[in-house]
């Protein structure tokens, strides 16, 4: 990499990543259940005793996200304290004498969980979180065999079904505060907050307008951290089943990069299991007529977006340019920074590019009536459900409208259904597919061909890295020696680098989580942004940590998934998008060239100013 210098700059402080431990660790001596230990100072009781081989049950606590200290489950007895103390927020002090399971502690834990259960719906069997519910687990852990308290909520609270992506059931909410914390502290969105007092307390949206009517980005991080089924994805599996059983329909599926590193978990495998081949095999068994890959359109995105960047650079277009793959991020900027929308690339996301190409190029090629074609996407993301239903996402319909004399009533979306990883797993289980026993299979052609550059779309920094791989070669017309841009990899909140493109030094930045996005946007709005190109992903870790991924999703799990993503990249024969033969063929046969007229018609979009209220 002779002419390319990549320099990792100091990263900005972020809300999500814990700072590393100091070099010299001060210690203190504590007693746990009568035994004496030396532990690092500054730790909570929970952290300290966890390292000693004890496990204190918790419910509202979620490390890195929330320490509301609200549930009253992790209480322990500390000698000299008037009441029981919450181990999740109480720091150890010298000489602290802690008892983890006295009758007093057990009574409090049990009673508090019973109190939560009293008003919690008892229809576990028909809950999406059945067997993956922390309230269920804690009740089982504490051996709760009956609930002594009556249901005091007389009338059930109404469900919030206003959102295309998410459903909130306040009846199942135990007010742990995790969703509020993640929305506020990680995403900086504050679409939900705690309202009311006493028994009337609930998590709600602004004036109870519903998630669909407030500045919610549909990122689904709330659903990911919810211990119960109080916030879940809006389930579309029934519709997909129906389409699959309809003989008139040609149902094709596309799978996002992050699915292959997440689905295995949902099917009971190790964290971060890489299951590309099994996933393809399973999808075929579900009955999809073609199993395609969103990675194909990720490569396409790089072609379009890369050329858009080059064009903006040469034409004096709006800079920095910001990626547009992440639909949560798009809604975020539409709500909170509408004045900066011109900075966002006009490229549709890979999901949507796939839909438009499938229903035009592919349908035409295969002689399928686009009206009979159903495109299902499997996404790690809840916001994709919203994106698929944006009114502007009807490129294929408009393409065909004149050609086939289509009427308004024939309207169809480019992508018909966007399912999350969790929904797919649910379907596979329903279909009696023994996932771990499946032989690996290959994607179908031509929309199943992809490069390593497309795989890494699934991790934060991946789009940037993929774009740089192509941009470098397109601009410099030179071959890139090493394709690994380490500077933009990893879980830091904001990563920056400097790239030398033929003497032009470009500063780039990569951010994940919307709170970090805000930092970069504030710079832009103040006119202080030093960057040319910015990648923003809504969710912590990028798509692999998306709101549609298996629960739990923790930092540790995100790291495992990222490792698999980069392993898949390394394994791929072709690792630069512009070298994808199917993409080259697509341009040759259909699009002609990046940013062509057809491209604009099918692959580019526009944005809406929304405002906060």
């Amino acid at each position: 990499m002779e002419q390319t210098t990549l320099k990792k700059e100091s990263t900005m402080e972020t809300g999500t990543i814990p700072s590393s431990a100091p070099k010299t660790v001060a210690t203190c001596t504590i007693t746990v259940n009568g035994k004496s230990y030396t532990v690092p100072k500054g730790k909570t009781i929970l952290e300290a005793v966890s390292a000693l081989g004890y496990s204190i049950p918790t419910l509202c606590h979620l490390s890195e996200v929330a320490s509301n200290a609200s549930c009253g489950v992790c209480v322990v007895e500390v000698k000299g304290a008037k009441s029981l103390l919450r181990s999740c927020v109480t720091k150890v002090t010298e000489g602290m004498d802690i008892r983890l399971a006295t009758p007093r502690v057990l009574a409090a834990r049990r009673t508090n969980v019973e109190l939560l259960l009293a008003n919690h719906p008892k229809d576990c069997l028909s809950c999406l979180r059945n067997q993956n519910c922390e309230l269920q687990s804690i009740a089982s852990l504490l051996g709760i065999d009956n609930v002594r308290f009556a249901q005091t909520r007389k009338k059930p609270l109404p469900l919030d079904t206003t959102s295309v992506a998410l459903v909130r059931d306040p009846n199942k909410c135990i007010l742990c505060g995790r969703c509020v914390a993640v929305c506020s502290e990680v995403q900086g969105v504050n679409a939900i907050d705690v309202m009311g007092r006493g028994a009337k307390t609930q998590v709600a949206t602004f004036f109870f307008k519903g998630l669909g009517n407030v500045a919610c980005t549909n990122c689904g991080q709330c659903a990911l951290v919810c211990p119960t089924g109080a916030i879940v994805e809006k389930d579309h599996t029934a519709e997909v089943w129906k389409a699959l059983q309809d003989p008139k329909k040609v149902v094709v599926v596309e799978t996002a990069p992050a699915i292959r590193v997440g689905l295995g978990e949902a099917m009971g495998m190790e964290w971060g299991s890489l299951v590309t081949g099994k996933m393809v095999a399973a999808l075929r068994r579900l009955g999809f007529s073609k199993v395609f890959d969103t990675q194909f359109s990720a490569d396409l995105t790089i072609m379009e977006e890369g050329h858009e960047l080059i064009q903006r650079l040469s034409n004096g277009g709006k800079l920095p340019m910001i990626t547009s793959c992440s639909p949560g991020w798009i809604k975020f900027i539409e709500h909170f920074y509408p004045n900066s929308l011109a900075h966002v690339s006009t490229c549709k996301s890979p999901q949507q590019m796939f839909g438009s190409i499938a229903k035009t190029y592919y349908a035409e090629k295969m002689g399928i009536d686009p009206r009979d074609m159903v495109v299902v996407s499997i996404m790690p993301c809840t916001a994709k459900k919203y994106e698929a239903k944006r009114p502007e996402m009807m490129g294929a319909f408009h393409y065909w409208q004149a050609r086939l004399n289509l009427l308004e009533k024939d309207k169809f979306y480019d992508v018909d259904y966007a399912l999350t990883t969790r929904e797919l797993a649910r379907m596979l289980k329903q279909a009696s597919i023994k996932f771990d026993a499946l032989e690996e299979e290959e994607f179908d052609d031509p929309l199943g061909q992809s490069t390593g550059a497309a795989v890494i779309f699934g991790a934060t920094g991946g789009v940037m890295e993929a774009a740089l791989r192509t941009a470098y070669e397109v601009v410099t017309k030179k071959h890139l020696q090493s394709v690994d841009f380490q500077a933009v990899r990893g879980l830091e909140g904001i990563k920056t680098a400097e790239v030398d493109l033929n003497g032009t030094k470009l500063k780039v930045a990569v951010a994940h989580t919307l709170k970090n996005a805000r930092i970069l946007l504030e710079q832009i709005e103040k006119g202080e942004s030093p960057y040319t190109f910015i990648e923003i992903m809504t969710c912590p870790g990028g798509c692999l940590g998306g709101g549609g991924q298996p629960i739990p999703t923790t930092t540790e799990i995100r790291k495992k998934r990222a490792e698999s993503i980069y392993r898949e990249d390394a394994r791929k024969g072709i690792r630069k998008s512009h070298e994808n033969p199917a993409i080259q063929q697509l341009y040759k046969e259909f699009l002609k060239e990046p940013l062509s007229h057809v491209s604009h018609e099918l692959l580019h979009t526009e944005y809406t100013e929304r405002g906060v209220y």
């Binding site: 509301n68 549930c71 009253g72 009673t111 308290f149 009311g196």
Partner: protein, 1057 residues
């Protein structure tokens, strides 16, 4: 600054100028103008005097407003000052007196003012200065001689009610801001903190954290930006100390806050005050403006170089915002929800900066401590809790208001001396301290002192100073429910134990108050309360269980009564009674029912209804204390309905017509089948007869054992014929005989037959021995001839064993027996004198009997304590008595008699000692029956079981001397319990039938006093034993029944199941 040796006092010149405002050369009238005064009409009085001053041109009088002197139940308070004279405080001033007061001040009409004055203040220690008002007005008590103020020490309230809170100059005139000057120019911050630490001042918001220590923690923080905050978010129901402190003396708070800020290095601060206190907010605004003008607040205070300013933050009224982390969140514009500590506000508070929050009262103490020193302060109160505390004394006491007293004062002094109790008719049961976070302390523990440790040890807390007195009309279960309802809705909703736990506790408590609770509920409630206390995140949750835990601890029987007997004796839990009269009646007679039946002309049915509830309706209708009238709602219009006189009328009418025969036959017919169970009843008095009536009808074989020749007990042998002709009693006892009750008369258990014998032949035993043994009075000469115990004398007379009592009879005592002896003696031709050690108001006898005795010419000597009985040759010649005077109110709700040393001899030939009766129960001990020290039988309050499973007890045997109706009420309860014990099923309800009558509520009832039955005039009756009360006429009875408001008729809303 601290090295400066010259005392700087930039304000001294101003003070000299304005001192005259406090003690001017002209007369002034100052109206107590707090929220409390205005609520009682102070604004109207002010307007009238203002107008009068404008129109009448005579001697000029200054008119001003002050805060409140604390005596709320005596509002409006008006201060009057005439130069050279003491300051007078007039109370309960009415509009119509306003002009008179003005004129009296103008004309120096001392006579009028003396008569009208509550008290006077000759000199006053404002702590930062001492003011001599003057001398004069003999006969007017000094302020601290008035019961309400006795023992009070006004430290925080030093200026309240005496200076104009809207005028900084008046505050300056009494030495205000001199402590600030001292702090700024003579003391270092460290010295101030040391002084506060040495004083031992603890947080007056309730938790009692040492104030000096709190200040020191913040002093140690190095941040240049620190906040000094005053918590004025007073939210306890029934507590309003802080409101008055601010309304009456806002500058004391500002001065205290500024000194605190200086000591801790804070330059900004705010007062978080409830928006519901508009007057306090207004006065604070004015005070802050004036303080800035006089440079005691602002960027460069008194040119010292130190700057501090205060903002007002109005809280929207959330109880939880009294919790400091929630208060900070609220002030920052967030929802008021607590966050875990640490970090403590002293480290990370408002806007993330070090913050100290003190309560209003804590800060008001500060200037006084700085002025007079830590030693002075710590000499007040106790070692652990120095200083004073202001309480708002409210609820069931005569005097309510703000009391400030040294910590360590016993509760009884507050409730009885200052509050003067609840009067003799009501019994004080408990005090709730600390509002919803506090606990109920029962009257039996009122010797406890009020300080942080002592209250905590009783399960209550000091809290911010609410003190609600509860009496027998307060249901303790409902009290707990009320406070839990409050905290459940004020819970911020964050943590599980508080949010869910309190709503579950409320659910359980509500169920119990509806009679739907179970004993398991109690166990559940108790465990739940402990978990709420143990695992809630903040102070609100941790203390919210106190009302539950203390009532469960001290008043468990009351919970059990709600659960098992489905009764609320206090008459609060509406689901558990028909009407207040029915609930107050020990026999729970369906009073509205028989009144209505009478109104509808259905006399037989009306009588039948009374008879089913009360086997002796004619008897009890004559001798009852009429518990039913004590809570009658008609009393709120004019007088209670005379329900008892009506059932007497019904009985008399039916007996006159002979119609009882049909009803008796009906009862006989519906007797339940023979059970084969044998029940022995010991004692044929009201309790024994009542139990027999119900038990025999339930099919049991019932035998009554009594050592008298005839049944009836005290009704026959204690109550003279002029009150109860014995033919009525005989008639009613005849029903029992008809029903099959066997009477074994002249049989004394323990002598003529052993309890063992009875036991062997019985499936259950009911002990109803009554309280027929006279109490002894240890008095010299009691063994002389001519000295008799009262009850014994009545019994001897009724048995014909004694024909006359002596020429000159003196009776010691004031109970019913004393009066009965007196009136009997009078009828036998004696000259009769009753000596009683308290005053007439305190006399325990039935007021009607007292009135009758007075009319008949019995002489009463009140406040006379017997000292010794004098005699010659072994025979009584006189009684020496000592005159008493009235002291403070004691736990009985009456004023205590205090010896004066003045003695007097009453010549007489007979002395009757009638100082009460007791239960003779020695013979029971051998049979495993538990007996109390006073001779009463220890019985379970619900089942009336007395130890061995088949032995039950009721009546006076259990309660000690009480009324016949009370004895019968317990016997009725015992009968049900015995039947359930014997038959293992609930059958008692089968003895009652439902009468259908109209539910008519009189709309807009006109005032109409109680109908009085005809009585034989005193002159005609004192020579004989004819019944005095002739009873109602038919017309009177109907009119009286119509007075009933029918509060048993309740609107049934759709929501209620």
């Amino acid at each position: 600054m601290s090295n400066s040796t010259t005392v700087q006092s930039p304000l001294e010149a101003v003070r000299a100028e304005v001192r005259k405002k406090i003690r001017p050369d002209m007369a002034y009238i100052a109206i107590g103008y707090g929220t409390c005064g205005i609520g009682n009409g102070a604004d109207e009085i002010l307007a009238i005097i203002e107008q009068a001053i404008r129109t009448n041109g005579s001697k000029p009088v200054r008119l001003k407003k002050t805060g409140c002197f604390g005596y709320c139940s005596a509002e409006p308070l008006v201060n009057v000052y005439i130069p050279g004279k003491p300051l007078l405080i007039l109370h309960k001033v009415e509009k119509k007196e306003a002009v008179k007061i003005l004129k009296a001040v103008q004309q120096g009409d001392e006579g009028f003012l003396r008569r009208r004055a509550l008290c006077k203040i000759e000199e006053w220690d404002f702590l930062t200065s001492n003011i001599q008002f003057g001398t004069g007005f003999p006969g007017v008590p000094r302020w601290n001689e008035v019961p309400f103020f006795k023992g009070q020490q006004k430290l925080v309230l030093r200026d309240a009610g005496l200076i104009d809170p809207t005028d900084i100059e008046e505050y300056l005139a009494v030495g205000g801001y001199s402590s600030l000057e001292k702090a700024l120019f003579q003391l270092t911050p460290a010295r101030i903190i040391q002084e506060i630490k040495d004083s031992g001042l603890r947080g007056r918001g309730g938790a009692g954290f040492p104030t000096g220590k709190k200040w020191e923690l913040m002093r140690q923080e190095t941040s240049p930006e620190k906040y000094m905050v005053c918590n004025a978010d007073e939210g306890d129901p029934g507590a309003y100390m802080n409101r008055n402190e601010i309304e009456s003396d806002p500058h004391a708070l500002i001065e205290g806050m500024t000194i605190a800020a200086y000591a801790m290095g804070a330059h900004q601060g705010f007062i978080y005050v409830r928006a519901e206190y508009p007057l306090a907010v207004e006065r604070l605004k004015t005070a802050l403006e004036q303080a800035r003008k006089y440079k005691v607040l602002g960027p460069n205070i008194l040119d010292s170089g130190f700057g501090f300013d205060i903002e007002l933050v109005e809280g929207a009224g959330a109880f939880v915002c009294g919790e400091e982390t929630a208060l900070i969140a609220s002030a920052e514009g967030k929802a008021g929800r607590p966050v875990p500590r640490p970090p403590f506000p002293a480290q990370k508070g408002y806007n993330g900066k070090p913050t100290t929050i003190n309560n209003v009262e804590t800060l008001c103490n500060v200037p006084a401590i700085i002025a007079k020193g830590a030693d002075w302060f710590s000499s007040i109160g106790t070692t652990g809790s120095p200083g004073t505390k202001v309480f708002s004394l409210v609820g069931k006491v005569k005097n309510t208001g703000l009391v400030e007293l040294p910590l360590g004062t016993p509760l009884e002094q507050i409730v009885y001396t200052m509050g003067e109790g609840a009067g003799k008719k009501k019994k004080i049961r408990a005090v709730q301290t600390g509002g919803p976070s506090g606990g109920c302390i029962p009257a039996t523990l009122f010797n406890a002192t009020v300080d942080y440790e002592s209250l905590n040890s009783l399960g209550a807390i000091m809290g911010s100073g609410g003190m609600v007195v509860l009496d027998s009309d307060n249901c303790m279960v409902d009290t707990a429910r009320y406070f839990v309802e409050f905290t459940a809705s004020e819970s911020c909703g964050k943590c599980t134990p508080c949010r869910e736990g309190l709503s579950q506790a409320l659910e359980i408590l509500t169920r119990i108050t509806r009679g739907e609770g179970t004993e398991e509920d109690l166990a559940k409630l108790e465990e739940l309360a402990k978990v709420i206390k143990d695992s809630s995140l903040c102070g609100l949750g941790q203390t919210s269980a106190n009302p539950i835990l203390t009532t469960l601890n001290y008043f468990r029987d009351e919970y059990l009564t709600h659960i098992h007997a489905k009764r609320c004796d206090a008459g609060i839990c509406e689901s558990l009674f028909l009407a207040l009269c029915e609930n107050s009646c020990p026999l729970h007679m369906n009073i509205p029912g028989y009144l209505q039946l009478l109104k509808e002309g259905r006399i037989e049915e009306a009588f039948e209804l009374t008879l089913r509830d009360n086997p002796l309706p004619g008897t009890v209708g004559r001798i009852c204390h009429f518990h039913c009238q004590m809570r009658c709602r008609r009393d709120t219009i004019d007088e209670p309905v005379h329900q008892g006189e009506i059932h007497r009328y019904l009985a008399d009418t039916i007996y006159k017509m002979g119609k009882e025969r049909d009803i008796y036959a009906k009862l006989l017919k519906e007797k339940l089948p023979r059970t084969g169970k044998r029940i022995s009843i010991i004692g044929g008095g009201p309790a024994g007869l009542t139990a027999a009536f119900y038990l025999v009808r339930l099919g049991h074989e019932v035998t009554i054992y009594d050592d008298h020749p005839k049944a009836g007990g005290i009704m026959r042998y204690g109550i003279p014929d002029y009150r109860l002709p014995k033919d009525v009693l005989d008639k009613e006892i005849s029903l029992l005989k008809k029903l099959g009750v066997k009477f074994r008369m002249n049989t004394r258990v323990g002598k003529d037959i052993t309890l063992e014998d009875i036991d062997e032949n019985s499936d259950a035993v009911f002990i109803a021995v009554g309280a027929g043994k006279d109490m002894d009075l240890e008095i010299p000469g009691k063994d002389l001839k001519g000295v008799y115990p009262g009850y014994e004398l009545l019994e001897k007379f009724s048995l014909g064993k004694m024909k006359s009592f002596g020429k000159n009879v003196v009776i010691i005592g004031g109970g019913n027996v004393a009066i009965d002896v007196a009136r009997t003696a009078l009828r036998l031709g004696s000259k009769v004198t009753v000596v009683y050690r308290r005053d007439r108001d305190a006399l325990p006898a039935n007021p009607q009997e007292l009135k009758g005795a007075e009319e008949e010419g019995v002489e009463f000597l009140y406040l006379s304590a017997p000292k010794r009985i004098l005699g010659e040759k072994g025979h009584v010649t006189g009684l020496e008595i000592e005159k008493m005077e009235l002291g403070d109110v004691d736990a009985s709700g009456r004023r205590k008699p205090i010896p004066t040393g003045k003695k007097k001899t009453l010549p007489c030939d007979t002395v009757v000692i009638a100082v009460g009766e007791k239960v003779d129960s020695d013979f029971l001990k051998a049979y495993g029956v538990k007996v109390n020290k006073d001779g009463t039988v220890k019985a379970d309050p619900i089942s009336l079981n007395a130890g061995p499973s088949h032995i039950f007890a009721g009546g006076d045997a259990v309660t000690g001397p009480a009324t016949a109706a009370e004895a019968m009420g317990l016997a009725k309860k015992a009968a049900e319990s015995i039947d359930t014990y014997l038959m293992k099923e609930k059958r008692f309800h089968r003895l009652f039938v439902k009468f259908v009558y109209k539910d008519e509520v009189p709309f807009n009832p006109e005032s109409c006093p109680q109908n009085r039955p005809k009585e034989i005039p005193p002159a005609e009756r004192i020579t004989n034993f004819m019944e005095i009360n002739q009873g109602y006429s038919g017309e009177q009875a109907r009119l009286e029944a119509e007075r009933c408001l029918r509060c048993d008729v309740r609107a049934v809303t759709m929501e209620r199941r």
